[in-house]
Symmetry: D2
Subunit: 403 residues, 4 copies
């Protein structure tokens, strides 16, 4: 057992830290003003494109992707880099072409796409020329269980016909989003885990209607393409647009989740570090009732608790990444649930305290804290509410005693 990052990781962390300092943080105010001045709610401010070029030049591109298509890092090596991108979550992940949901989609394509599919979708995604979305969650069912998915993908001759309603499809409103990876039922009579398939659906397909953007605590998240409600009304794609094995969609969706959880959680930890920085700086800068806020015992308690909780979270997520690298998704099952249970709620707590130290400014657009909070809070629901994961983890724990 040892707790130091390996040399390639340290090298990339240093490079990425420099990149954040030199390019990303200075771009944040630019991004804010460009965001306010956009004509279209759903577009990404132009400064992001500039950052993407810079990241590419700096050799900080597609770091998330293992294997030959990407940077070839292990989960354990990428995790601390994902954390760093979380310090500026609106800019850094996009700058490095490491933003969800494109990351998970590129992973799927990298593993399952045919040569034709790779050329049409994976290459431009890896190249950052287009964006994509992943259409799984549905409004009318408990989204925590992929088996509940009701959208149908019916084979009709050389085509698949897709009918159903999806929502909270992140990124789909972005004009650069060209591809929807859609999960739906291809075999209603199959075993629960062998009913679904994934198909590649160009966003401009006839019968695909993007209805509206869902808000998250008042935020549209328009700069990353929003969270769309999409109706598929008999939309047709060629049979060749099937991704991977027919009826194997459930397992593919599960596999996509593992690394995604690591990324989400590490970015949340980066957000927590950013919030702790802001909390300390504000506490040192402000005076109330004759003393710096940083001298107040309650604020010190928050700062200490934040540090102690962050350290524990990071170790748990890193161990999970290591397990995924060494024993695979299945072997890391409990830990993948554990980081989902622990991270969003803990980071939400830290963000809440950072907001409180900032006073009214903390809930406003003048600091990133309120928006980060909304993201963390929403992750307590994404991929199923925390309670579902706790129940499942408890079942495994109890199973130790029932044989």
């Amino acid at each position: 057992m040892q707790f130091a990052y390996d040399e390639p990781t340290e090298r990339l962390r240093a490079r990425l830290t420099t990149f954040l300092d030199e390019h990303v943080y200075p771009a944040e105010p630019v991004y804010a003003s460009q965001t306010a001045e956009r004509d279209d709610e759903w577009t990404t401010p132009p400064v992001v494109a500039r950052l993407r070029s810079a990241a590419r030049e700096a050799g900080l591109w597609n770091l998330f992707l293992p294997g030959e298509d990407g940077a070839g890092l292990t989960n354990l090596q990428y995790a601390p880099l994902a954390e760093l991108t979380g310090r500026s979550p609106a800019l850094a992940p996009a700058a490095l072409n490491c933003a969800a949901p494109d990351t998970g989609n590129m992973e799927l394509l990298s593993i399952f796409a045919t040569a034709v599919q790779r050329a049409e979708w994976l290459d431009p995604l890896l190249d950052g020329r287009i964006r994509s979305a992943f259409a799984m969650t549905e409004p009318d069912v408990a989204s925590s269980d992929a088996r509940n998915i009701a959208t149908t993908i019916r084979r009709d001759g050389d085509e698949y016909v897709i009918s159903g309603r999806k929502w909270f499809i992140t990124g789909a409103l972005n004009p650069d989003c060209r591809l929807l990876i859609v999960l739906g039922v291809t075999d209603p009579d199959g075993a629960p885990h062998r009913r679904h398939s994934m198909v590649l659906v160009p966003r401009d397909t006839l019968g695909v209607e993007i209805r509206r953007g869902l808000h998250v605590f008042g935020y549209t998240d328009g700069t990353k393409g929003g969270h769309a409600e999409i109706v598929f009304d008999g939309a047709r794609v060629p049979a060749g647009n099937l991704l991977g094995e027919e009826h194997g969609g459930f397992a593919m969706a599960q596999a996509r989740l593992g690394p995604g959880r690591i990324h989400h959680c590490m970015r949340l930890i980066g957000m927590a570090e950013r919030a702790l920085d802001l909390m300390c700086r504000r506490a040192l800068a402000r005076t109330a009732f004759g003393r710096p806020v940083a001298d107040q015992g309650v604020v010190r308690e928050w700062i200490a608790e934040s540090r102690v909780r962050i350290e524990q979270l990071r170790l748990l997520v890193l161990k999970t990444a290591w397990l995924m690298d060494t024993v695979g998704n299945q072997g890391a099952h409990t830990e993948i649930q554990a980081i989902k249970i622990a991270t969003p709620s803990t980071v939400e707590w830290i963000l809440d305290k950072a907001i409180q130290v900032h006073g009214a400014a903390g809930v406003s657009q003048d600091f990133p804290l309120a928006h980060l909070w909304a993201s963390a809070r929403t992750l307590r629901l994404a991929d199923g509410p925390d309670e579902v994961h706790k129940r499942s983890l408890a079942r495994r724990e109890l199973a130790r005693f029932t044989g």
Copy 2:
């Protein structure tokens, strides 16, 4: 000691409940769609005007205001009515002409305004023809202590000249807002509590610049006129616009707080009751993993805790109202702090659980919960962060032992 509402209160509660059922709840979807279709972020949807007429006809108008200018209710009588309006906080308070910050402003005017001031400002406010704002909070100081206010109100001949920056001035962006009651320093050398005055400033005064709306977790609160940042750059008003005693502004601001706290807290309790209703209904309506969500132990725990906490909060606020009626603001000092400490954070907890039961829908615009949450969370900061009130309450508690 007895815990039943008196007969006039019960009569008004019944009447208001009917009004909510017949007019307000049915207007909510209308309001939502009118809000989405507005051209101007800062205007109130027209359905509110219709509700105001109906409320007036129903004898539900200006209930908040004691004395002859209003309905003549005590704090204890009005409190349960304020709670009911909190069940639909975007509509009901406005419909009854009982919405902050107009309520506090009308109270101030009712007590301190000259006949001329009454005719110009109080009468149209009581009549619901105009709206107003209260300009106290400043961005650069701890707003929890009115003595920190830095905006200057300098006497210059027959005029007052106002210079300074205010923010989070709720309602000021509404086109119907005509009056700003501004708190500022008139005597920089006076004792800390005898430095400030209030002046009545028409919103269209030269030198008053309304810069922007501050957001609250992504919400602009545009339908109630937003939360404005306002710069006073040598704005001039006639000397006759002084409200009340010169240099007496601090005490007036404090006096305004007491009933305001009662109103805020009772509305929050109404919001909590609404959230608990929604939580129960959703839990009964949804099925997950083969059972109604309402059968899940964790959800039952949330429902029970919500009920137990609401009951305690309500009694505390009602007792505070009774104290204000019987021994006055000063005698109720500890309790006025206690309700500020207890109510927003508890209601925030209940709203969080209601959101969790709703899944992703809970954070979206399809339910009122996320917006209510943002309001409750912000009230943990408004009028000073909870921590300030706790420190002060503890000081009094400790003083019992130091003589």
Copy 3:
């Protein structure tokens, strides 16, 4: 609605406060040293007998008991007196002949006892000459549901024969304890609520074996007669020892609970007030890192939160007492559950903070805090764990929407 105690209550509160100051608090160190020097773990130190005489002289005797047998107070009138006795819970309730479980037993006897039973048991209990215990809880079943009780009470000619095992029977180890009121099954085939009866069992009955005292976080609670495990091995009592209606024991046990909850909760509130006093005094008396502990922000937070929570609890319990007086046990059902859910856990929190302020001394025998904590913690389990009451309260809340 009004929140002042009535005149008789205020008069008794003043009298009891004087009694505490003049007799009870000065007796505490005497009690501690007598306790340490006892030969028998299960006896009450002699100072208690002295206090009982003094209380009787002061007209502070049997205050808990409504009707002609007792002081004739309502629940609402007695509740604040019970709170005051909670400030010195080892001494004051016993001094006033208002200690559990005798209180509940006297209530039962006052309502249901025959003339013979009254003469034999109620009179000496009211007179303070003997003590009693209530034998309901059993080790092998969920004690939260009286219907689970398994002990049998079989009619055999002119006798009842009792067989079963009870535990946590408070007071039964005290040599002055002469009476056990035993709940058991008399009609195994009856409806669930019509199966049980209560019989009066002299403690020295053949076949009654008091096995041992159960500990509570290391405390034996010997001075109040411990918490006994009792085996009934065919113990026989005359048929005339039946208390009340045959097969009506469940309803009688339920009825006994209501006032008992009020008493327990108010005493807990008195304990919390005592703890808050101790916390303030210690914080003012001690210096750490160059400042009085009372200046530390975290300690102030605890003090403020304690005050705010106590105020809410007290109002909730008082309202419950008022409901019991006005609409009866059934009408106050939800509130009786609510105070059970809210009070022990909140008071436990306050005691924990008071302990923390005292440092290591807080967990030791030099302050009453650790022992009070153990009592409060145990009340989260007594009469069924909190979770059972929450589930039940939630069911009622949900029933509002299911008709």
Copy 4:
């Protein structure tokens, strides 16, 4: 970075697990009955001696001690073994000669003792023939800061004369305890960190009065020698009994803390694992309201949260052990504070939930949970209350921004 234990650690873990299964768990009921039957509150039941022989034979002896005097393990290697001993904390640490406070004392002697001191004290301690205590904490000062220590150690010719009062001196009441390592002031005018020395004081020295045992939530902890209050009234020892450098006692006490924290925290984690086992088993074995307790959502939530928190704690403590091995006590300063802040309070939470699942049995002597809880709770105060450590950790965190 990698998260597997090394081979020697795994080998010892296996051996120790076998030892627990074969010797320790079966000895627990024996220990309980021997404890109940002792004549002397302060003696260790004889079964412990038997376990010590077995441990020695099994090669599980003095594992805690690095270097040639002990097993030569690193902190990281010993930590998981300490965790395992925490599963039976009354027996296993003592069985392996790895129980506090002897462990810290042997460490001190191993580093600082002269040859004469080694022969007289270290050898019999390593051999398990005697026990020892560490006399640092004092009743009248904040024990969280060693600089507050007031006991004086005055040089008088060839002797040191010790005067002062200590308390919570664990183990000192055990008849086998022969040695007290006493920290006191030797140079009142020295710099704050250069005032204290340690001297070796035979327990039977004239002028050493062991006054009484302090209780911890009703427990005397008599089987491990209690927590003594000791008065030193001019007790004299030869000058040769100075341990280490004169006036260097503060640094020695600090150095002693580091590994002690690791041990304490890992044992607490072992206790938490034991509690989680018990919680699961009880939840599976009991039925309430027609369902196994293990099916209740709230219980599942507790089980899941317990697992998630334990995993985080363990990683944090292991990383701290690794830091101590690689960069030393100073480099691990923040982490040593962090584990003190995080571990006792988290384990206390887990124990509380395990108790709740056990019902009244959980607070009694029939399960180890209540006693374990009292230990965990007390560790929130030992070596200074958590709040002191949080304040200090926050200061370091803030220092990142003040230079």
